[in-house]
């Protein structure tokens, strides 16, 4: 039995993003990291593997540089890695989902963990879209998952608090922020990662016909500059400030 964790490499949250020619300038990104929600998925996938739920494969779809992220995942304990090398910048969500669904099938995985959304595009469609293609149960907003015999028990946020959901294979868990951060590697793990080979394939190796993108990205723009703050002085302004805090800022 195989568990898959899906990882996406995104600009680090501390990296400066510049836009040039209507597109995010990827070459100007100083540091790339694993998307933070995916790191939670990875930690809980490692816990499932350690609980004996199956072997763990880390899968990514992205350019050559994304391989570094798979090596980092190997250092914390994933058994194997699959890298679908592709330029995803102009792909729509459905194309990426079909690549990842085919990659999951290629690895023979029927339990999938991923982040609820990526820190760059924030679309949140990858997990549910793949679950739909796999015909798998999809549990979103997950903060914990455990193996219980043949099924899995997940904790997720609901409108009335947390709820515990039990599902059987095939299933997909899309992670929100969880209580346990991704573990730090150790020297032994790093040395083992050096010996693990990343399987590298292309979308066509997986036998997928993605078709044309249904979405056309017209342009990227930097967020508008924040307007300067407003300054009030003296006791006379109290009423105005209270009114603004209530009516405009909606904080009281």
């Amino acid at each position: 039995m195989t568990i898959a964790v899906l990882l996406k490499q995104v600009p680090d949250t501390t990296a400066k993003i510049t836009v040039s020619g209507g597109r995010v300038d990827q070459s100007s990104v100083a540091k790339w990291s694993t998307s933070p929600y995916d790191e939670y998925a990875l930690e809980y996938a490692l816990q499932l593997k350690e609980a004996g739920a199956g072997d763990l494969v880390a899968i990514t779809c992205g350019p050559d540089r994304a391989a570094k992220m798979l090596t980092d995942a190997a250092a914390v304990g994933v058994d194997s890695m699959l890298h679908v090398v592709a330029d995803t910048t102009e792909m729509d969500s459905k194309q990426i989902q079909s690549i990842l669904a085919a990659a999951i099938e290629h690895c023979g995985a029927d339990v999938v963990l991923c982040g609820k959304q990526a820190a760059d595009t924030n679309s949140g469609s990858t997990g549910p879209g793949i679950a739909s293609m796999m015909g798998a149960a999809c549990v979103g907003m997950v903060s914990e998952v455990m193996v219980e015999g043949d099924s899995f028990s997940a904790l997720r946020a609901s409108s009335s608090g947390n709820e515990r959901v039990s599902v059987s294979r095939p299933c997909l868990f899309a992670f929100d922020k969880a209580s346990t951060e991704l573990r730090r590697p150790n020297v032994k793990g790093i040395m083992m990662a050096k010996r693990k080979v990343i399987e590298t394939v292309s979308a066509s190796d997986l036998g997928i016909d993605m078709g044309e993108s249904q979405v056309i990205i017209e342009s990227h723009d930097s967020p508008p500059e924040k307007p300067p703050g407003q300054k009030f002085e003296g006791a006379d302004s109290v009423q105005t400030v209270v009114l603004k805090l209530r009516e405009e800022a909606n904080v009281i």
Binding site: R184, N186, K188, K194
Partner: protein, 391 residues
């Protein structure tokens, strides 16, 4: 602001991928576990035990040693580990240097097979802490004239004497102690509970406050016969340990310098005087560019030395130059960084005064700055200035 490690010439790109992964691992430990706690540890004068546990879990103790549960990393990786640890605090790096280079190394190189199998795995895992007893109250730069002596009593050795300035002494489970047996310097493994052995802590330091420093006292201390290190006689034993520790320090000092540079850069960009950030003034820029220049040179020196260590093509004088230079510039960078921070520089809100005070010790221990100059002087001239005898 997150730490931005100055690497102007991108020297880290010369490291292997796994060496960079080790760097990132230790950097993460320092960011998340060490920096939030370091000022408390300094105020309380303690080395937090959690750091010992995590160093063991990461598997970085005794980094370049192979076999017996040791990591088996390159000397470049060992250097990077020291640099990242010392970016946190010199006391933390001192802990790792003493454990790996001064306590584990002599057992690994000069110990019996039984000693290696018994001690090294639990020292690599951090379960046991080791210390190194060479310096005595009256014999620092001149260890060859040490007073501590061992006597062969037939079924055991009897150790008498005292060691001073011993990092990790009071928290260690074992001490590698150098003493004269029939006038010849030999290494002995002394365990914490050995009869006649005590390790009182030295208090009142203004430097390396998060590191434990102790005396080791031996009063008719009985040592079983199988605890002598069989593989070495004379000063070569302790000096070969010091070579490895000094090598690590030459990298470690860069970490302190990077931390001070980063803090000075950030501070000077945000501190406004006369309506402009002080970073916009030429005097401050001159100081920052001098720091960048010296750190870059130190990085190249340390990296090149790492390659020589890994290939085996090195002499102790190479290490003397790197230890002396890199600590010297790190200390001066810490002082200039304190100056750039103005009065704020003396507060523990910023790391600069702590690094500055630490580096005063680092300049003196493991061969003082002057002694390394004399080692180089002897190399150049063939004249030994310590004893005024030609070598």
């Amino acid at each position: 602001m997150p730490f931005d490690a100055l690497d102007f010439y991108d020297v880290d790109s010369l490291l292997t991928e796994d060496e960079r992964m080790v760097r990132d691992m230790v950097r993460d430990f320092v960011d998340k576990d060490v920096l939030p706690e370091i000022e408390h540890a300094c105020r309380d004068g303690v080395f937090p035990d959690e750091w010992r546990v995590t160093l063991g879990e990461m598997g970085v103790l005794g980094a370049p040693l192979k076999g017996y549960g040791c990591p088996g990393l390159s000397y470049a990786a060992y250097g990077v580990i020291c640099r990242e640890l010392e970016r946190g605090d010199s006391g933390l790096r001192s802990f790792a240097s003493v454990q790996g280079s001064l306590a584990m190394y002599p057992i690994w190189d000069f110990g019996s097979e039984d000693q290696k199998n018994y001690y090294l795995p639990k020292m690599a895992s951090g379960e046991w802490i080791g210390c190194f007893g060479l310096t005595e109250p009256d014999y620092g730069s001149n260890p060859g004239d040490m007073i501590t002596k061992a006597e062969d009593m037939g079924d055991h050795y009897l150790l008498n004497g005292a060691k001073m300035w011993i990092t990790n002494g009071s928290i260690a489970q074992l001490a590698v102690v150098w003493a004269k047996l029939d006038g010849v310097i030999r290494g002995f493994i002394v365990e914490k509970d050995d009869e006649g052995f005590s390790a009182p802590e030295m208090k009142g330091k203004h430097s390396l406050k998060a590191s434990v420093t102790s005396e080791l006292v031996f009063q008719d201390c009985k040592i079983p016969k199988d605890r002598i290190l069989p593989g070495v006689k004379g000063l070569r034993g302790p000096f070969s340990c010091l070579n490895n520790a000094r090598y690590g320090i030459s990298w470690g000092a860069i970490g302190s310098a990077q931390a001070c540079f980063d803090s000075a850069k950030e501070y000077s960009l945000s501190r406004i005087q006369f309506e402009h950030p002080i970073a916009s003034y030429q005097l401050v820029q001159n100081k920052l560019s001098w720091m960048l220049r010296e750190i870059t040179k130190a990085q190249l020196l340390a990296y090149h030395l790492s390659q020589k260590k890994d290939s085996g093509d090195w002499i102790p004088e190479h290490i003397s130059l790197a230890k002396m230079n890199n600590v010297d510039i790190a200390l001066e960078i810490a002082r200039v960084a304190r100056d750039i921070h103005g009065a704020n520089g003396i507060l523990d809100e910023y790391p600069v005064m702590r690094h500055m005070a630490n580096l005063e010790s680092v300049k003196t221990y493991e061969g003082t700055h002057d002694i390394h100059n004399l080692i180089l002087g002897r190399y150049i001239t063939g004249i030994q200035a310590f004893t005024r005898e030609t070598s």
